[in-house]
Amino acid sequence: MTEGWFNIFTEALWILLKIAAIVLPLFLSVAYLTYFERKVIGFMQSRIGPNRVGYFGLLQPIADAFKLMFKEIITPTESSRLLFFIAPILTIAPAFAAWAVIPFNAELVLADINAGLLYVLAMTSVAVYGVIIAGWASNSKYAFLGSLRSAAQIVSYEIAMGFTLVGVLMCANSLNLGNIVAGQQGGMGQWYVWPLFPLFIIYFISAVAETNRAPFDVAEGESEIVAGFHVEYSGMAFAVFFLAEYANMILVSMLAALMFLGGWLSPVTFLPDSILWLFAKVAFLLFFFLWFRATFPRYRYDQIMRLGWKVFIPLTLVWILFVGLMMQTPYKDMFH
């Protein structure tokens, strides 16, 4: 009996260690993603960006974290205190929970479950609660408007995003992320990005909208509603929202790399597959997020809704039908 408990204990400890091995590097990536964002946008706008703390400003994210840690957290009057503090946790928990099923290479995965893709979709759709609750609990007009905008946007783009994933799983015949990557074996030509190119574009644009990033950042449109749903948050509570946004950016880029760009598989057959390929692909996609922010003006809200419902959803449906029909023809090998 005692041995059984001991086994459970060691197994739990082992899982906790694995979680730490995923979450700690993720924290570090988030910190340096904010640094790169400021640097990249700075260069694009002929500025220098942060360059005071450490060499080339490399310690800037750490200085920022320190500053936020020592700031006072203010609760607005007549706010719902409990929900006010639960909201940031509800935002960041799904952003990290989704990483449980992400495979980093053929063996390196925390939970290798059958319905991995569905699990990730469910987790990303739960993240909207943090935003809604933050807006409501703040007892502030701007925060409430921001959260309403964000909720409508996330729910709309989730549908288009879900349909693009249907295309992927039609090609891969599996919901397991590891199997989806394994289906793209054999060089760049086998990646799903080619037969599903329109879906890839739609997925990526929807991903930008899902994470509330520019040019779809009406949820926190500075010029209209100050900072949107997190306008009343300060100190670490604000930092947690910030962390969740960047962790979500990395997550959706990781998913795009796994599902469309062959994950850890090498683009050419004479080089070995490696986790480094995965990181390179994710970094490449993340750069687009920063590039978009520096380039595009903010979308108007009704146009965001129109793009999601009237353009993306019909387009994905047509392409799914096309893939389904092609699979009944002699050309079906193109789609596997």
């Binding site: 929900l83 479950i113 059958n114 319905a115 569905l118 699990y119 979709l121 469910a122 759709s125 739960v126 909207v128 609660y129 809604i132 609750i133 409501w136 409430f144 309403l148 909720a151 409508a152 996330i154 729910v155 989730e158 919901l175 009704d302 146009q303 129109r306």
Partner: protein, 198 residues
């Protein structure tokens, strides 16, 4: 395993109770979300991972978000709602009692009693569901889909009735606009010096 089941089951029952007893409707909606999660967890224990994740994805991720959306914007005065509670109590109590007895009579039938789910280990839950949905039950499945489609179209049509009140612009019209429609170039002679006349 039993401990985990009882843990989730008690969370489910407690949060369901809170749904109907919370004073604030937003809290009620959030407790409903919690009960969906617990129900999903119980399905996971039955190895029905597709159903569990679909419950979270559809109900928590979409339906309840829209629910919260509406509930947050309502200005509900509980005092007004509670007015006349005791006047209606005898009738409401009688109806509730009849419904309770009826439900017990239905739930005591034999086909409700043999409900031990046996997971099929040869295929995954997703695959097993897909196989029966698209073979044995394909007709009911398609009929359900069409009924849902009709409901969607009806709901959208209801919002489109009446005259157009919003100021949205059709993007097709916007991109058809040419420069000449909006701007007129005027050639003018530059002005000569002003004659000062006094």
């Amino acid at each position: 395993m039993d401990i985990i089941f009882y843990l989730f089951a008690s969370i489910l029952i407690l949060s369901s109770l809170k749904v109907i007893t919370s004073r604030n409707p937003v809290y009620s909606a959030l407790f409903l979300v919690l009960s969906f999660f617990s129900a999903g967890a119980i399905w996971l224990l039955l190895e029905a991972e597709f159903l569990a994740i679909a419950l979270v994805l559809v109900y928590v991720g979409a339906v309840m978000v829209l629910f919260l959306f509406v509930v947050m914007m309502l200005d509900i005065d509980l005092k007004k709602l509670k007015e006349g509670f005791w006047d209606y109590m005898p009738v409401a109590g009688l109806v509730a009692l009849i419904m309770f007895v009826e439900m017990i009579m239905v739930l005591n039938q034999d086909f409700f009693k043999t409900m031990q789910a046996t997971p099929n280990h040869s295929v995954s839950n997703t695959e097993a569901l897909g196989q029966v949905l698209y073979t044995d039950y394909v007709l009911p499945f398609e009929v359900a889909a069409i009924i849902l489609l009709v409901a969607i179209i009806a709901a959208i049509l209801l919002t489109l009735r009446g005259t157009k009140t919003h100021k949205g612009i059709d993007p097709a019209d916007q991109i058809k606009v040419r420069r000449d429609d909006r701007v007129r170039m005027v050639k003018m002679k530059s002005e000569t010096s002003i004659k000062r006349s006094r």
